[in-house]
Symmetry: C2
Subunit: 298 residues, 2 copies
């Protein structure tokens, strides 16, 4: 799977960083975390089709994280989308419907299912689970985690020994269904290896360093955490309910994430050397996000 950073700025856009948005290409779809103004154009710039987006998760209701939604949705309509679109977000996200109806959007040819979330599990399907938790911002902000349901290894040789012929029956067993061979029932657990840990990606949204997030992000393959400010601007981080590089790195360390990506960088910094240096002192496997950065996750 791939993480594609579409926008890595904070409140204001710059020539090099657009408003917040991150795409996850996985499970045969594109999953979007936040959707700041201009997200659809960022996608056009790297030829990532909005038609493949099925799920959008909004961290909080500040403009720089949501103002790309009406245009993105309108463009899906222009392109003749018929598949439903699921949007999850904090209280207030359902006002989007009113905006789509009243502010420049044409009749939509597809269903938009908007769901105001609460803490806990919000999606549990065949391929992944999505959980969310409240963090600490000046309005309600949710962090989301998406965890792959990784199938156990299929023990081919064991299956053949039990008389199962290679083919569709392998798939049935691997997907958890029992089958009959020569009148004998073969159960999946007879031909599957031990459970395997799936990839887990956690995205913080905007937040002060948050204790609950440490448990929530535990053992993430990738933790994407905001680092709006350098360490020396901690007073501004506190005042505006954001995190510094070191604070974000501490969350990465305490949650024992494999990799930490810092994003939502304030426009006040022309380079991110200081942010990287501070974070690396605490957590070595850290990357400062850039627009259009693609990260393969495995």
């Amino acid at each position: 799977m791939e993480l594609i950073f579409l926008g890595t700025s904070s409140a204001l856009p710059t020539k090099f960083r657009n408003h917040a948005s991150i795409a996850l290409k996985a499970f045969g779809e594109v999953i979007l975390f936040d959707c700041g103004e201009g997200t659809q154009r960022q996608m056009a710039n790297i030829r990532l089709s909005p038609m493949k987006i099925n799920h959008i998760f909004i961290s909080h209701m500040h403009g720089d994280h949501i103002l790309g939604l009406p245009g993105l949705i309108q463009s899906m309509g222009f392109r003749g989308r018929i598949e439903p679109l699921y949007i999850f977000g904090p209280p207030g996200i359902n006002k989007l419907e009113n905006i789509l109806l009243n502010f420049g959007c044409l009749n939509m040819s597809f269903k938009i299912i908007i769901q105001e979330v609460d803490e806990g599990c919000i999606i549990d399907n065949a391929e992944y689970i999505v959980n969310c938790i409240k963090c600490e911002h000046n309005i309600i902000n949710y962090a989301y985690s998406i965890t792959e349901k990784k199938k156990p290894r299929f023990l081919k040789e064991k299956a053949i020994k039990l008389g199962v012929e290679p083919g569709p029956k392998f798939s049935l067993l691997h997907s958890g269904q029992e089958i009959k061979v020569n009148g004998k029932i073969i159960k999946p657990e007879q031909v599957l290896g031990p459970p395997r840990k799936g990839i887990k990606i956690t995205y913080s949204g905007d937040t002060r360093p948050c204790k609950d997030l440490i448990d929530f992000a535990k053992e993430s393959t990738v933790l994407i955490h905001e680092s709006t400010f350098e360490d020396e601007d901690i007073d501004k981080a506190i005042e505006n309910w954001h995190s510094t590089a070191s604070e974000a790195a501490n969350i990465g360390k305490k949650s024992n994430a494999d990799k930490l990506i810092l994003t939502h960088i304030s426009t006040r910094y022309s380079d991110t050397k200081s942010i990287k240096k501070s974070a690396k002192k605490i957590f070595n496997n850290v990357i400062i996000a850039k627009d259009y950065m693609v990260l393969e996750v495995k």
Copy 2:
């Protein structure tokens, strides 16, 4: 004065063209015609401050012409704006207020005066006049013209002969006020040349070729007209209430504009050679707009 083309695409953005927006740098301010999604970033890319925008004129309520408003306004707030902002547009534009209140925008530190326009004169101040007229689109679309009030030439030598000393009194007379010199009243008309024609800029918004627009755009220094389609796609132009290159060029010719700029180019065309060729056959002084194109107008 300068016209700066911030977005020259039609419904969808491309790598090279953003949604519709045109800035006019004149009269000590920036005047914006339409404000598609991402306009604030287009401005950031060429270092044009949104703080200098005092007036915004919206042609019609389709998303690709208005969805940049919430973000642009929010960014003005972030930057600590206190000056009022005037927004003019067709019925429905006042719904913007509700969106600003309910969809991600913080408390605004400045006044936003939104005015739904009708045909006729909508601004008449010391420096310019703005008129608008309905065109022919599938929803109400206004074309706008802005006409400079150009002062007559100041006849310096005549003034000196009448006993006026160079200095502030020259300015008073030039701005139309009478003064007293040695007990004698000097009237402006005694020291001013004949009336001079000011620059006139007309912007069509989205429209089928519109008869009324010919009179409205009469003698424009610059007419900015949409040309969403090439001539051979006239069926699509009719179906979607847009204009072809030749149709737009005809409006330029019949209104006797000095210069014609074609914009709102459909994403289906990878180059604009055919649009230029068709238009040039009818009206020679034509330019196909590009994003970031700056046109000095004098």
